[in-house]
Amino acid sequence: CSADIAPRGNEPAPELLAQVKPGELTRGDVRALLGSPSTTSAFGDETWYYISSQTTQWAFNATEELQRQVVAISFDDRGIVKDVRTMDETAGRDVEIVDRTTPTPGREETIIQQLLGNLGRFNKDAAK
């Protein structure tokens, strides 16, 4: 029983990526060639990132990343490709995810309210 491996994100085809060389293409060319970037940098010079990975999930295990590719394309101030870097999953570091969250208010139903509230009849207007 083989675990199902799922392709994630936007993996540019190697032969197309090879055509993206510094000093030649503008942002429009890159978009035409590789499609929209998966994400862009939030601050500073707008670097384009093409992020893709392969994840798998088997039996009761949590989802795992098998491999990952991050392609970073930075542009100079004239909007021409300045630098193309590719990183795989080894570049990533294992960071423990903090559990603290910023509080958000909002009404919560207790068990009894729900059990008795909607036995059989779910009052439509509450759901509108």
Binding site: I51, T104, I111
Partner: protein, 251 residues
């Protein structure tokens, strides 16, 4: 008038008496009964000057009795019938509150949040100088904060499922669209976390710098600085809810 709950007898009464009964109910905090009494005032004497006032008071009573749908219907009718009335700003404001108090937790459908946002925006645009605009502005910020909370909730889900790209874009939308909300420091920190996990070191450093610049004292910055330097978060992560499924509140 009778307070038992069989349908009130259709008793004709002079308008002042009915109105005072209703106000007495309000005084006692018996809002549901008060709403019914105000409705009686308007029903029996639709053309008296009391009727307009009673319409608004009945809406107020429904609001206090947390019957938000009835309050909203009554307020809409008041606004349609008396657009020029001096109390119209209050009617818009009360309607906004009726949506605002039905906002459900970030995990659920945010329809009420959007309706509250529109209604509060309405109050601010129509009556910028009224005393309600100030409170509406305050509540508007909280509503927007709630929308940002929804983005964070989904972002954290993807982060835990190791779908880092999806998480990054959700946290980025908080930083770009909801800059004024209380979630921005955490969104910045989560970006640092995700960038570190993806190995995008330059982005992690830049984001940690922005966080440090804008929120220097926050715990988020302490963690961000540590992670951007290659370490692990420093503040207490022991707040983990443990392996027990979080037992819901029984009552």
């Amino acid at each position: 008038c009778s307070s038992d709950n069989e349908p009130d007898a259709y008793v004709e009464r002079p308008v002042e008496e009915l109105y005072n009964i209703a106000m007495a109910d309000v005084g006692e905090g018996n809002y549901e009964q008060a709403a019914k009494s105000f409705d009686e005032v308007e029903r029996q004497h639709p053309y008296s000057s009391w009727a307009t006032r009673a319409q608004l008071m009945s809406a107020y009573s429904y609001y206090e009795a947390e019957k938000y749908d009835d309050a909203i219907i009554a307020l809409d009718r008041f606004i349609q019938l008396h657009p020029g009335n001096p109390d119209v700003p209050y009617a818009y404001y009360l309607k906004a509150l009726s949506y605002y108090e039905q906002i459900s937790s970030v995990g659920r459908d945010q329809k009420m949040t959007r309706l509250a946002y529109d209604a509060l925006q309405d109050v601010i645009n129509r009556f910028p100088t009224s005393e309600y605009a100030r409170d509406a502005k305050l509540k508007l910020d909280l509503t927007v904060d709630h929308m940002a909370g929804k983005e964070m909730d989904v972002g954290r889900y993807y982060l835990k499922q190791k779908q880092y790209l999806a998480a990054v874009n959700r946290f980025k939308s908080v930083v770009e669209v909801y800059q004024t909300t209380s979630h921005v420091p955490e969104a910045l920190y989560r970006l640092v976390e995700a960038y570190a996990l993806l190995g995008m070191q330059t982005e992690a450093m830049k984001t940690a710098a922005v966080l440090g610049h804008n929120y220097p004292g926050s715990e988020w910055y302490e963690d961000a600085y540590a992670v951007a330097q290659g370490g692990q978060p420093v503040t207490d992560t022991a707040q983990d809810s443990g392996w027990l499924p979080s037992l819901p509140a029984l009552w």
